[in-house]
Symmetry: C2
Subunit: 214 residues, 2 copies
């Protein structure tokens, strides 16, 4: 198909497709004349994946590029694919103010007898948040970190179950990267829903605000 | 203090402070001469909050501005503050492809007997992710949505406990907005840690990869 049809079928505008081609997020089509190329279903699928990572997962073009490299590298071990998906977290640089908070995270890990690579980017991300809570005078927010980790265990177990349930190798890797990136958004959405419900239960247990609106 | 000292104490560069002043994220200082203003501790604190929302929470300047309005509006009911914090989710427009996925989310809500405002932005965000899983041929990732919701309940209960534990009204509102926005990052970080551990348990239960590296 031509680029105009690729645009129609994927819902991605032609200038955006050209941008993705320049950035290497999309493989070139087969050249059919000096200024025309032919695209196929694999291009439609790849555009869907790119849009999901960028629009729903909130990834940058650079992070999307790294994640796609994992999807395309069929020889990549599964734990490496997790590593690449993990790098899709917003980059958090080292900060000496976070040393104390890193200690809090490491203690939680040690209590559970877990062995976690110190370079796991989740460790720095979590510590950074705890350090900011403290700096903002909201240290009581730290009391929830045990609940958060318990919830993260449930989600991680579910994530790995989906990886194992994948029918083949390439689906496994796609499950790792898509599930890791989009799973953050899924959880954030469900958390907003659960917050509203919990807030009703605590502050408006009889549900009068709903009945009044009739 | 002058702007140079405000910059030193907050760790935010002068041009960035000027940008925040123009965007209304930071209140003007008290003018002491035609081209000089005086700033105080409240400016240092506000800069810390702005940096936390932008750097750690990943918010845009526009979303940060909306969230700060909630913090500053002392008359705002607590459930409105939750509403504003919820709007800090990446905007998800309506999409007719999501209708089926919205039905899946609504069914989960109905099963629990919850009453959730259909405009809760978490509903559209979660549905969008489920729709993308399907479009990408990864519908087995949907099987985890019940686990995700169970985990979200644990986190939401913890979030509301922190709100109730806040000593005063303004701390309550700050706890809602900071805890909601930065809590997404905290959870994402802890999820990466739990994924690594779960992956060891499933694929490398004896921990040989660690011992080999000595």
């Amino acid at each position: 198909m031509r680029m105009s049809e690729l645009s129609d079928r994927s819902g991605v505008a032609v200038p955006t497709i050209k941008f993705y081609l320049r950035e290497g997020l999309l493989a070139p089509g087969e050249r059919t004349s000096p200024n025309q190329s032919a695209y196929d279903d694999s291009h439609v699928e790849r555009l869907r994946l790119v849009r999901a990572l960028i629009d729903v997962g909130g990834l940058s073009v650079a992070a999307t590029s790294a994640v796609l490299a994992a999807v395309d590298n069929t020889g990549m071990p599964l734990d490496w694919a997790f590593g690449v998906a993990q790098q899709a977290l917003p980059a958090v640089g080292a900060d000496e103010d976070d040393a104390e908070a890193l200690g809090v995270i490491d203690e939680l890990i040690a209590e559970r007898g877990w062995r976690i690579d110190p370079r796991n980017p989740g460790r720095a991300t979590a510590a950074r948040v705890l350090a900011r809570y403290e700096a903002l005078g909201l240290s009581h927010l730290r009391d929830g970190v045990g609940d958060y980790l318990r919830a993260a265990e449930i989600v991680a177990a579910s994530d790995l179950t989906a990886v194992i349930a994948s029918p083949d190798r390439s689906t496994q890797v796609e499950t790792v990267v898509v599930g890791t990136v989009l799973g953050d958004s899924l959880f954030a959405g469900l958390r907003r829903i659960a917050q509203e419900q919990r807030s009703h239960e605590l502050f408006d247990p009889t549900g009068t605000d709903c009945e009044d609106s009739e």
